[in-house]
Amino acid sequence: MSIDPFIIEILQVAALLIVAPVFTGWIKMVKCWFQGRTSPSLFQPWRDILKLFSKDVTLAENASWIFRFTPYLVFGISVMAGGIIPILSMDLPLSATADVIALVALFSIARFFTALAGMDIGTAFGGMGASREMTIASLAEPAMLMAVFAVSLVGKSTSLSQMAIVISEGHSLLRPSLVFALLAFILITLAETGRIPVDNPATHLELTMIHEAMILEYSGRHLALIEWASMMKLFLFAVLGIASFVPWGIPRNGELFSVAIALLVLLFKLAGIGVVLVLIETGLAKMRIFRITEFLGSAFLFATIGMMSYFMLE
């Protein structure tokens, strides 16, 4: 039995909305195990979001419409991106809306507005967060494009579904260009989603904040939307990595059975990614901000090597 692609699209967005906080909860849980602490429940992020939604909003006196508009926009972009990346099926009505480059640009506009919202209030923290976030983003962008370049050489396309189809048809996982591109992609993901060693999502220490500094003044439903969107962003980068590097298990079309299998495979892969992420985060300390240049420089280098090895070896 085949499901209509539009229904899969809706299923996929629903999966994104539901699973993303659980994925964050899973990462926190594994991290607690590694550090020998008692962990909160897997659904703790969900409880936090629901609690925030029921609270009233406290807004700074001079906040303009940009400050109030940003949470909705950031949330909307994350949901939209969830409809574009192939998660449960490669045959999606929205998949032609954006290729990888346009998808990255969608995330950029979310970041642009978050940074503006940080500056809107006029505190020193907001400006500091905005300045650092934009600096890191501008260093991550060339590396990201290089990684896309390397993958698109193999996939002969920048359209996500098409890349996933071509790579899942390929035989070996160990194409050198893809391995280097994957390394670069992992480093970029750490920077883009604000994880250790670039940023620490758990900190509110004044001088080390980056992302948290921008959203410091948010409260109530605005904060809930932003938190939810940033959990979705982590989830989306994970499925973006799955779709471009290990797309096995994502069905070509919407057979009911294969979509169900795809969901299971997805959960399995996400659990694995969560463990890898925790290994990285517990193994490393947060870097000084001016060391990030070297960190992202090496991401760029890996991606470039990936591209060159395609031309030389394949």
Binding site: A98, A102, G122, T135, S138, A143, Q162, M307
Partner: protein, 667 residues
């Protein structure tokens, strides 16, 4: 076509001071007709030639409107239309301070010059129009001439413009002279140059001269030095035109000479253009980040965007030289599309900066802040300009940069391993550029419009008048329209690309329907601005409604001050501090002098009363390239100055010797 341009001349008689309304209104109408004429000529693919029997004896002026000039007519006309509407309100700000007559006159002459440049069909008339444009814009830069910096900037502009004009003149000389072996004057028309077959080395010479000359006008690094000086000091409506469209006449010149007059060339020409484009893009945006003068920041961004346009054109040249017409068409359309886009958003941004200047009398961003509350409309329009120039969807800047990325991503099809390895690095530099541009405009918008007001005149700031808002509104709508309906735009531009490089992409670009832009094939890459825009908007609206189903209260509260007594506007991040991380990372590209002075405090050495911080960031090119030239010319003129004794006898001896020498040599 010609009547439109001639229709501009009657303005010259409208010299009454209070007739700004009439002057700029008629200028707006004339520009609008020029844009419509250009639009039709591209859409219908028609070509009209007119020969005017004026000018020097036996050297009539040739005018021609073809696809390329039609396209640039639209670029110039559309922005001139918006800016002329804007000027009605803006120029009134000068009333009572100084005479606006010569501003109106030179403004109209400047517009006429730009229209004639793209219409000219012979070298002589082209250069006359070119000089008309340069000279009138010189006087416009000099409008507020009591300030030293304005006079200095205008002089610098004049020098660079003329060095460039000499190179263009020489280039046309090579092109025209070789067709007849330097024996006649008949071959100064572009038609004759098209028919000529040049030996490769002379074609290269002509190309390099033309590229140098046009680069000086376009502000390609390292010839950009006049741009950040001249654009900030000109009246803002003029800066909008200079930055938005005058630089584009140089792009027109490059495209005209390379793709229309010379036509066959080796790949390294394209590589040269590409490299200069990349350097301009990256360096332009980095210099822009360091500025805290709003208009100067925008001027450096023009350098960046000219770089992006040249990247597209350079790629098109590389593809053309390998006979890959489809990819060449893609890259050329990307470059020309960005030309149009940059005209729109840069015009919009300069108009916005002009409104801010009009309202606050301030160009320094460190004295602004919180303007979104005083000028809500200007803030929205300026924000649209910022999003467009930062290449963020769904606005227009993204479409053309995305097309450029696609052209980059298709470069592995080139049969040259060297280019295969090097061109992707260019794509990475372009990505760096657009990300830095986003950082720069977060800074520009955030420091200017958001936060608390830093300046001293809180109550007097006011929103601008209707005509200024209307001009900005139209430009903002153009940015949105060009961003959401790229397939129509490409369909319209396609004949132009087909004529210049022989490939067409319109059929494949809208292969899935008008909503999806698919440059080469649907499997290769696709982008749908309407869908993304509507999708995000739907989610935003639905979320908003869902969350407001329950009446929730919003409580306004003072800022959390971390336990200090009082938060002042001076505690905010400034433009300088915002750019500090990037200044440290890319500092090696600038000459930076940072100076902190901390006078010892009377009360306690650990708590200084005040700290003096002095920062000077300078363009390295000034000290590397220009200062030696300036020093050398001063040295030379001092040496020559020794000959001037001021005594008539000595001058008579000079004349006598000269006559003797001439008699000996020209016997």
């Amino acid at each position: 076509m010609l009547l439109l341009v001639l229709a501009l001349t009657p303005f010259l008689r409208l010299n009454q001071r209070l007739l700004i309304n009439v002057g700029f209104f008629l200028a707006a109408i004339a520009s609008f007709f020029a844009a419509v004429a250009g639009f039709w000529s591209v859409a219908d693919g028609m070509m009209t030639q007119v020969i005017l029997p004026i000018g020097l004896p036996d050297l009539p002026f040739h005018l021609r409107i073809d696809l390329l000039s039609g396209y640039f007519l639209v670029v110039v006309g559309l922005l001139a239309f918006f800016v002329s509407i804007y000027s009605i309100g803006y120029v009134k700000g000068f009333l009572g301070q100084r005479s606006v007559t010569h501003l109106v006159v030179f403004y109209v002459l400047f517009l006429a010059g730009m229209f004639l440049v793209v219409l000219a069909d012979d070298a002589l008339f082209f250069l006359i129009a070119w000089e008309m444009m340069a000279a009138s814009s010189y006087f416009l830069v000099l409008y507020e001439d009591e300030r030293v910096e304005n006079r200095r900037a205008a002089f610098l502009y004049l020098v660079v413009a003329h060095v460039g004009a000499i190179a263009i003149l020489l280039s046309f000389g090579v092109l025209a002279g070789l067709t007849t072996g330097f024996s006649g004057f008949q071959n100064y028309t572009f038609d004759a140059m098209r028919a000529a077959h040049l030996p490769p080395e002379l074609a290269t010479l002509a190309f390099l001269l033309a590229f140098f000359g046009f680069s000086a006008k376009a502000g390609v690094i390292p010839l950009h030095i006049w741009l950040p000086e001249a654009h900030p000091v000109a009246p803002s409506n003029v800066s909008a035109l200079m930055s938005g469209v005058m630089l584009k006449t140089a792009i027109y010149g490059i495209v005209r000479v390379v793709f229309d007059l010379i036509r066959t060339f080796p790949w390294w020409w394209g590589a040269t253009v590409l490299v200069f484009g990349l350097v301009s893009a990256v360096m332009g945006v980095l210099y822009a980040l360091m500025q805290h003068d709003l208009k100067r920041l925008l001027a450096y961004h023009s350098v960046e965007n000219i770089g992006i346009i040249l990247i597209g054109i350079g790629l098109a040249m590389i593809f053309t030289s390998f006979n890959m017409s489809l990819l060449a068409a893609l890259a050329l359309i990307a470059g020309l599309y960005h030309t149009m886009n940059h005209a729109m958003f840069k015009g919009l941004l300069f108009m916005g900066a002009g409104s801010v200047l009009h309202a606050t009398n301030e160009r320094n961003m460190e004295e602004m802040g919180g303007l979104i509350r005083f000028m809500p409309w200007t803030a929205v329009f300026f924000l649209i300009g910022c999003i467009s120039i930062s290449a963020l969807p769904p606005f227009n800047g993204f479409v053309s940069e995305w097309l450029t990325y696609q052209a980059f991503l298709l470069s592995p099809a080139l049969p040259s391993p060297l280019l295969n390895l090097m061109i992707p690095l260019g794509a990475a530099l372009l990505a760096l550029t657009s990300a830095l541009a986003a950082a720069c405009f977060v800074k520009a918008f955030g420091v200017t419009f958001l936060g608390h007001h830093r300046g001293h005149h809180g109550g007097h700031i006011h929103e601008t008048g209707w005509s200024m808002r209307l001009g900005m509104l139209l430009a903002a709508l153009a940015c949105l329209g060009l961003g959401i309906f790229p397939t129509y735009m490409i369909k319209w531009m396609d004949p132009l690309a087909e004529k210049l490089v022989g490939g067409k992409i319109a059929a494949s670009a809208s292969g899935l329907g008008w909503m999806w832009l698919t440059p080469i094939a649907a499997e290769r890459a696709s982008y749908s601005a309407p869908l993304a825009f509507m999708g995000i908007l739907t989610v935003v609206v639905v979320t908003y409604l869902l969350l407001h189903a329950r009446p929730g209260a919003i409580r306004r509260a003072p800022l959390w001050d971390c336990g200090f007594e009082k938060i002042t506007s001076r505690m905010q991040y400034t433009a300088t501090s915002f750019a500090m991380p990037l200044r440290r990372i890319f500092g090696f590209l600038f000459s930076i002098k940072e100076h902190v002075r901390q006078p010892a405090s009377a009360s306690h050495p650990a708590f200084p009363d005040r700290i003096h911080y002095h920062l000077r960031v300078r363009d390295r090119f000034w000290t590397w390239m220009y200062q030696p030239v300036i020093d050398a010319s001063f040295w030379l003129s001092r040496r020559i100055g020794r000959m001037q004794q001021g005594r008539i006898q000595i001058y008579l001896i000079y004349s006598f010797i000269t006559i003797l020498v001439l008699l000996i040599f020209s016997r």
